[in-house]
Symmetry: C2
Subunit: 344 residues, 2 copies
DNA sequence: CTGAAAGCGCTTACAG
DNA sequence: CTGAAAGCGCTTACAG
């Protein structure tokens, strides 16, 4: 609240005084308006340069009515998946001369509210929401801001916004097919009960693949974790306690797969010899686990860039597609193999 | 550059009209000034609320001369270590009502320049620089901005700024001591030739530990990677090619250790039976490798919070300590063991 | 307690 | 080509 008197930066007026012209002329010269004598324009620019002039964004935005900023909301910056989100967005934004405000909702409703409010106060030109719940709960507040908004992997379908999302159904089907192709018949789905739509969609893809292969759907083989390593052991214990345990597990995400991997190791079970494991996301670390994790790659960097470009298009007045679905890619590594491959 | 006419947000004037008072009074009421009749203040606030009024940060900052924003510069957002940087900063900033601009320098000098310039235009109140080179190369430009700056893990010593850094010498000494205590005598140091000061300091710590234990320093046991997984295999090959290869390796960071781990596995060497490995950073994934990685934890989240708090202190006019050194913590996991432990 | 006035640093019609 | 003027949305002395 309180703060020391910042040294006043040199303004357009100051350099007008120095250059012996009106501040209007300075403004024009600095903006390279053709309406000013090239000689004086040059002189003005030199003076500005020498005096270390740096235009005031806030002042400028007051009249232009845009700030050249976008806001980005993520649930957790520490989440490796979201770290990439921010990277792709920042890159694309910067290429267009936009700066990005980053905020972390922490999945806390109160915090989410404040974040949106604060972005609104800063008069961001547009918003990218990569925090599923924010999109879900605050859509009304968001659309009241009357600025372009793009949702990344939004978890609740809504018609009136722009979004980019991973093609969950296809991805899950592909993952399951891969396991089926390897010869697995008892394939578990370890979902995420907080995954909302993505969980539903991935589950649907799993069932589709089963149906296509004429494999029976067994409810017992479906358990729901919480999308974090913490919930995985319990879920896995349920599966292993079954009379006929699964020979392969399709995990909601890599974090879950990671925890399962570790849990199985503790139990003395081998991956993929005893149990095959497939993840989702292709986090950086998926390549470094032992065995390296087979997974469905979610091209986050591209998705983010796509989201940013979509927003930038909107900001530049171009029509943009409403929704983009990006395909996931099966990344074959060593955590999947034919069932019982150690014995055969 | 071009952009559609944003719908004009409701201003203080508009609600003044609605409330039949002057806009000065509205301003006061909204800011809870005691200089306004409680009844009318209440009425004004209600009207503001109902009309969806949201104060304009840019307009406000023009007169208050601060924007309640800070800029954060990192080299790479995708780098897991830096993802945490941002998280801690954003959290602390938000608690004090500040928003954060995030930019990624990509270790590109031109980009770095633009980032600094853009933050300056946005009139950020303060800056946190977690991109070592920016601190090194642009210190002059930065200090010309005349705003508080805090450097995180800055790689070049400079007197006139505030900084928080990891205690590299101590950390490296501790790591090396751990290996010595396990009985290792031939301990390699796999450094990072782009690590500037941190590399130098960690190397110094390594030598100190050796000296303390009266172990000879062998230049052959010191190689320099590039701080990324890419450079590790070559560096490791050199070490393994030695007449008497090391039985333990102190790696510059976890990423390097990770790559070494993998490389050794390819070569059929076991960790820690054949070679002990200790990393640095304690990235999230260090816990999930096989074997889990023994490493020196760099408490990034706390370091970031410390940096943010230091900056906030500065912004609030409080004196702040100039430099904070945070101790690293030895995290014992399974990648280190006595030499030749498979045979004994 | 309230309003008129000045001003923050800029841009941009409007007259010359 | 140039300057005086108005205005962007706010805050805050200054007079009542």
């Amino acid at each position: 609240m309180c703060s020391p008197p910042l040294p006043r930066a040199v303004s357009i007026k100051e350099i007008a005084r120095l250059a012996q012209v009106s501040h209007s002329t300075v403004s024009r010269a600095l903006r390279h308006s053709p309406l000013v004598n090239p000689k004086t324009a040059e002189r003005i620019r030199r003076i500005a340069e020498e005096s270390g002039y740096c235009p005031s964004g806030p002042a400028r935005s007051l009249v232009t009515r845009h700030t050249e900023t976008i806001g980005v909301i993520v649930t957790s910056i520490a989440d490796p998946l979201h770290a990439e989100v921010v990277g792709g967005i920042e890159e694309a934004a910067n290429e267009h001369g936009f700066s990005v405000f980053l905020a972390n909702s922490n999945a806390d409703p109160e915090r989410e509210f404040h974040v949106v409010r604060s972005f609104q106060q800063h008069r961001v030109d547009g918003l990218i929401v990569a925090a599923p719940r924010v999109g879900a709960l605050h859509m009304a507040a968001l659309s009241r801001m009357r600025i372009p908004i793009v949702l990344v992997n939004n978890q609740h379908p809504s018609e009136f916004v722009h979004s980019v999302a991973i093609a969950n159904v296809d991805a899950a089907r592909q993952a399951t097919r891969h396991l089926i192709a390897l010869g697995h018949r008892r394939i578990a789905s370890l979902g995420n009960r907080f995954g909302y739509q993505s969980d539903t969609e991935r589950f649907a893809g799993y069932r589709q693949a089963l149906a296509e292969a004429d494999l029976p759907f067994e409810p017992d083989l479906v358990v729901h974790g919480d999308g974090t390593p913490g919930g995985a052991p319990a879920a896995m214990a349920r599966l292993l306690g079954l009379a006929a345990p699964p020979t392969a597990v399709f995990c909601y995400n890599d974090m879950t797969a990671l925890a399962v991997l570790r849990h199985l190791r503790c139990l003395g079970l081998r991956v993929p010899e005893d149990v095959s494991l497939i993840g989702f996301d292709d986090l950086f670390l998926a390549e470094y686990t032992d065995p390296p994790l087979t997974t469905m790659r979610q091209p986050m960097w591209q998705m983010d860039r796509a989201a940013a470009r979509m927003l930038l298009d909107l900001l530049e007045g171009n029509a943009a597609v409403e929704n983009v679905q990006m395909p996931a890619e099966l990344i074959l590594r060593q955590s999947t193999a034919p069932p019982g491959s150690s014995h055969g």
